[in-house]
């Protein structure tokens, strides 16, 4: 140690290493683990509330979107309207499918034409009266993608098969006809080769007992069939917009003579609910965090009072006021961080339990895993600021004397 300490030397600072800073900041919580844990609990509850309240609607929404996708929320169905005076159907113009397919958010479209007086039988021996409720139709367009259905067996029409007497059966029709790909069925007084069977059509159950005939062949048998329905799949979240322009697109001359299926109102209701839930949760989480912050502040005030001796000793050992303040602020941050991590874990667990019970998809936005602890640290820092400054401002003699 040098005999002389010129003032220039005194003006330079000794700095604590990061490791020493961390060790010093965690000393308090390590010494009084239970107290640190209890004061972190307030923050934990707040963060858990936020995580849960964010995660539960997010999970609900994820499930809802999945459900709606499966249910065809983006599916719009167009039927011929009915004349109010004589209850006669108002035919859909033949140009409609092409017009509709030009609406930009329309992804897939299929046009249905029901065959007239066209009974379908398992074979030519079945009496004509036993139709089994099976109807025949022509499906033009992309039925598989529009109605989100897959083939259970065989395949859909291609360029070759659509010109041959072939048929694709819906699920119920196939069961009633006891037919599968490779079978033959008797319809309209001729044999049709079954080339495929569809899975059940959840999005259009009214089509489930329909036999789809090769379009070109059927159209030759019954030309100029009216359109019995148009099924349109729009881009996600665009169905409302597509639906709005549908009547005038389908029938510009008589938009009122077009029937367009209603969207599930539940979707909008759920969105409103989620928004309300979010505001409510922000309020609740905010209150919990405030209480948690006060808890940390309280703990730090007590800690500073209790550890006056330590503060005095550190000052005597040469700690600067800033180092003392930093120690206690970081200590509050450590408690906050502990609460934040605990809270995120707790929140995820709550969301997990909810999703398990409610049988919805577990979906928590990833950013919340980082934002939760970050928010908790910030609250800890704010809560710890005043007690820390108080600790730092104590004169060392006072701190040492009052123990």
């Amino acid at each position: 140690m040098s005999e002389k300490s010129p003032r220039a030397v005194l003006r330079t600072k000794h700095h604590l290493s990061v490791g020493d800073t961390v060790m010093t900041a965690t000393l308090g919580p390590r010494t009084r683990m239970v107290r640190a844990l209890l004061s972190a609990l307030g923050i934990a509850i707040g963060i858990a509330t936020l995580v849960a309240m964010w995660g539960i609607p997010a999970s609900q929404e994820a499930q809802l979107l999945a459900d709606l996708d499966a249910q065809g929320a983006n599916l719009i169905t167009v039927y011929p309207g009915v004349n109010q005076q004589d209850q006669s159907p108002i035919p859909i113009p033949q140009t409609a499918p092409e017009m509709v397919s030009r609406i930009r958010p329309v992804r897939h479209i299929v046009t249905m034409r029901d065959m007239r007086d066209f009974n379908v039988f398992r074979n030519d021996k079945v009496p004509a009266s036993q139709t089994g409720g099976i109807t025949a139709a022509i499906a033009e367009g992309d039925l598989l993608n529009t109605l989100n259905v897959a083939m259970a067996d065989g395949r859909w029409f291609d360029k070759a098969s659509e010109e041959l007497p072939t048929a694709v059966l819906s699920d119920a029709a196939a069961r009633r006809l006891r037919a599968r790909a490779g079978s033959a069925i008797w319809a309209g007084n001729q044999w049709w080769a079954v080339i495929g069977v569809l899975n059940p059509m959840k999005l259009a159950q009214q089509l489930d007992s329909t036999v789809f005939l090769a379009p070109k062949v059927a159209a030759k048998l019954q030309p100029d069939l009216p359109i019995s329905g148009i099924y349109v799949a729009s881009a996600p979240h665009k169905s409302a917009a597509v639906r709005a322009v549908m009547p005038q697109t389908v029938n510009p001359a008589d938009p009122r003579g077009v029937q367009v299926s209603q969207l599930s109102d539940a979707f909008l209701a759920q969105e409103l609910f989620a928004e309300f839930f979010l505001i409510l949760s922000l309020g609740m989480g905010g209150v919990a965090l405030l209480v948690g912050g006060i808890g940390i502040a309280n703990t730090m005030v007590v800690a500073v009072m209790e550890r006056r001796g330590e503060v005095g000793l550190r000052r005597a050992m040469g700690a600067r006021t800033g180092q003392i303040a930093l120690q206690f602020v970081l200590e509050a941050c450590v408690i906050g961080l502990g609460g934040g991590i605990l809270g995120v874990g707790l929140g995820l667990y709550i969301v997990f339990c909810y999703t398990a019970v409610a049988q919805v998809i577990f979906a928590v936005p990833g950013w919340i895993l980082a934002a939760g602890p970050a928010l908790a640290i910030a609250i800890g820092a704010i809560a710890g600021l005043y007690p820390s400054l108080k600790a730092a401002r104590q004169s060392p003699t006072e701190a040492l004397r009052t123990v």
Binding site: M1, S2, E3, K4, S5, P6, R7, V9, L10, R11, T12, K13, H14, H15, L16, S17, G19, D20, T24, L27, R30, T31, G309, E310, G312, L313, R314, R315, A316, M317, G318, A319, R320, T321, Q323, S395, P396, T397, L400, R401, V403
Partner: protein
């Protein structure tokens, strides 16, 4: 300019020098705790400051150790006038030059004896490895190597104070201040503590010990007596008497 030119006539030649130090606490009436205290303590001296309660011993020690500043007068430490130093500079001075021992030990309860000693050098800008190395040596000097891993609660009062001494000397301060270091100990433990402190002084460190125990004070080579904030006696005892 506060660095004293060593050749100047009034410059303190001692490691530690007090010049007409007064400490007055404002109030009605104001409390005059230290009155014109002038004192020179040479490097390596082993000094006891004695006096009854309220005589200003602790205040004098705080001012000498730069924990407090005098109302008037000047304290020189190793050639630096300390009264006008900024808080930051005092901190640096304390970390580099001064060690403290208190009656209450102030050991951190969750740390081992070794870590407590190492903590004493925390603010000296020394790496952890070196701190622990020096701490080990300091513990060895006070005969506590076998207890290095024990926590304060597992040590006797005398052992705890020896840990505190090790903590104070591990950083190799130029001056060591002890405020009633034996106050919480029984007589024989107290005597042993004084022995350790005398060894520290023998190593070249200036050691200033406050005590109200005159019997213990007889073990020091120099005894400064305070009464009502004024120095009323400054006697040097013969080497034989100290023994």
């Amino acid at each position: 300019m506060t660095v004293a030119p060593s050749t100047a006539e009034f410059a303190p030649v001692a490691h530690l020098s007090l010049r007409e130090v007064n400490k007055v606490y404002p109030g009605n009436p104001p409390l005059h705790v230290l009155k014109n205290v002038t004192l020179d303590i040479s490097p390596g001296e082993f000094v006891a400051v004695v006096g009854p309660s309220g005589s200003g011993k602790t205040t004098m020690l705080s001012i000498m150790g730069t924990l407090d500043s005098p109302t008037s007068g000047e304290v020189w430490i190793g050639g630096v006038a300390t009264r006008r130093l900024k808080e930051m500079e005092r901190s640096r001075l304390r970390s580099d030059q001064i060690g403290f021992i208190f009656q209450q030990f102030f050991l951190l309860p969750t740390l081992s004896a070794l870590d407590n000693v190492a903590t004493g050098m925390l603010y000296q800008g020394i790496s952890k490895r070196v701190r622990r190395e020096r701490a080990r040596r300091a513990l060895d000097r006070v005969g506590l190597s076998p207890r290095a891993g024990h926590r304060p609660s597992e040590l006797s009062g005398g052992e705890q104070q020896r840990v505190a001494i090790a903590r104070a000397i591990a950083g190799e301060p130029a001056i060591l201040f002890a405020d009633e270091p034996t106050g919480a100990l029984d007589r024989s433990s107290g005597r042993r503590i004084v022995t350790y402190l005398r060894d520290v002084a023998a190593g070249g460190t200036t050691v200033v010990v406050i005590t109200h125990d005159h019997e213990l004070a007889a073990l020091f080579e120099r005894r400064v007596s305070l009464l009502d904030g004024a120095v009323v006696g400054d006697e040097r005892l013969a080497e034989a008497a100290v023994r």
